[in-house]
């Protein structure tokens, strides 16, 4: 457990000043994600509850949007958080816990969606590519749901539909093209242009 009770020895003082170590009585609701995860690693149920309160809406929202069925979305949310409790060290501190959990939740949802599909599973991202995506964490940590919703609403409908189908339904661009009847090249351009516009809109909202 990272917390200590009183009069810490010298080595802990700088970490406490940085907010990485807290006194026991400090409210868990105000703790940094990484500290909460460290406490979950140590078996702290209250820290786990605080993470659920903070990120339950995110995981449940992804599940509802992807799986549609409310009961299935609840089961998925429960499964994601219980996996977090069982193996909290799966998260490597230092990035954005929220972005990591969103990826976990989405992958779990798409596993369910794809289990009935014949599409060949796309392999997991290679570690070196993931490691270079710290931009994800920066955007995620500074963004609010309303801002992302507003940015999405500004996209042309065909671009928004294409990227939402790819993200929430796990469709490949070929599948998006089949569904929309648009040429493959058009769909590829729509997805890239939509992501580019979204990135530009979000970047304006992220404090630098």
């Amino acid at each position: 457990m990272l917390a200590c009770s009183a009069q810490p020895p010298m080595p802990l003082a700088p970490l406490r000043a940085q907010g990485l170590i807290f006194r026991q009585r400090e409210s868990r609701a105000s703790m940094h994600d990484d500290v909460l995860v460290a406490r979950v690693v140590a078996g702290d149920h209250d820290a786990f509850a605080a993470l659920y309160d903070r990120y339950g809406p995110l995981v449940y929202g992804i599940a509802r949007r992807t799986l549609v069925d409310a009961r299935q979305a609840e089961d998925l949310t429960q499964s994601v958080f219980l996996q977090l409790w069982a193996r909290p060290e799966s998260y490597r501190p230092g990035g954005s816990f929220g972005a990591w959990l969103a990826r976990v939740a989405r992958n779990a949802c798409l596993d369910i969606v794809r289990s009935a599909a014949v599409r060949l599973r796309e392999p997991e991202l290679p570690a070196e590519v993931v490691a270079e995506s710290s931009t994800d964490d920066e955007v995620f940590s500074n963004m609010r749901a309303e801002a992302v919703g507003a940015a999405l609403a500004q996209l042309p409908p065909d671009q928004r539909a294409a990227i939402e189908q790819a993200y929430f339904e796990g469709l490949s661009y070929r599948e998006v093209a089949e569904r929309s009847g648009a040429p493959l090249g058009t769909v590829k351009s729509r997805i890239r242009a939509g992501l580019r516009r979204l990135w530009e809109a979000l970047r304006e909202r992220v404090p630098t």
Partner: protein, 216 residues
């Protein structure tokens, strides 16, 4: 063989970020982005935008789900990672004591604020010194082999009866020598340990210590 860079590659990088490629195309762009900075940047932007989309879907879960999740956690018995177990410190202390007994003379040859450091893999091995200098503890290690690809050495301060406190990472030269400054005052009973960790370091040790020094 890496495919040459063009606009098609940029398009594939963006599609890869949102997971909209089939397996063969994903493999093609993965090989390309490993070598192409422009496509890595495109991937990073598209990935950030994709991940942010998740936020737009957030909605409050049913109130009853909270109790289901918390009750589920209370019913799960899990094995705590080795570093969170009381035995980790005991193991580090045991290693330090065992080594210390075997090299009492070496441990006490210190002049002033210097302590011997030892490799845990070999009880007789002298693996450097810990020196209090300029307000920090400087660990000058030697005899360490190069860590595996993507891994680094990381120092830890382990105060008595407390969990390891993360300190900076460091690398070693081809001859196995490396130094790290630990922003801590010498505190009797503290153990300074070194473990192999993923690049960037860890907040808690993920491997057993390869080097220890005890401040006495």
């Amino acid at each position: 063989m890496m495919r040459a860079h063009d606009d098609t590659m940029l398009e594939l990088a963006a599609l890869r970020a949102i997971g909209a490629l089939d397996a063969d195309e994903a493999a093609t762009i993965d090989r390309h982005t490993a070598e192409c900075a422009e496509c890595r940047a495109e991937f990073a932007r598209a990935s950030a935008a994709s991940t942010a989309i998740a936020l737009s879907s957030a909605m409050p879960p049913p109130a009853a789900l909270r109790e289901r999740v918390l009750a589920g956690a209370r019913n799960i018995r899990r094995l705590r990672p080795w570093h969170a177990q009381a035995g980790w410190r005991a193991a580090a202390v045991a290693a330090a004591v065992l080594i210390g007994v075997g090299s009492w003379v070496a441990t006490h040859r210190q002049v002033g604020q210097t302590w011997a450091a030892h490799c845990t893999a070999s009880a007789s091995s002298d693996c450097g010194e810990l020196v209090a200098v300029g307000g920090v503890l400087r660990l000058d290690a030697r005899g360490l082999s190069a860590p595996p690809a993507g891994k680094v050495y990381q120092a830890w301060v382990i105060p008595p009866k407390q969990q390891p406190v993360p300190e900076p990472t460091f690398s070693v030269s081809a001859s196995g020598e490396g130094s790290v400054d630990i922003a801590a005052a010498p505190h009797k009973g503290d153990i300074i340990a070194v473990t192999v960790e993923p690049a960037g370091g860890s907040k808690a040790p993920t491997t057993k210590p390869v080097l220890v020094a005890t401040i006495e």
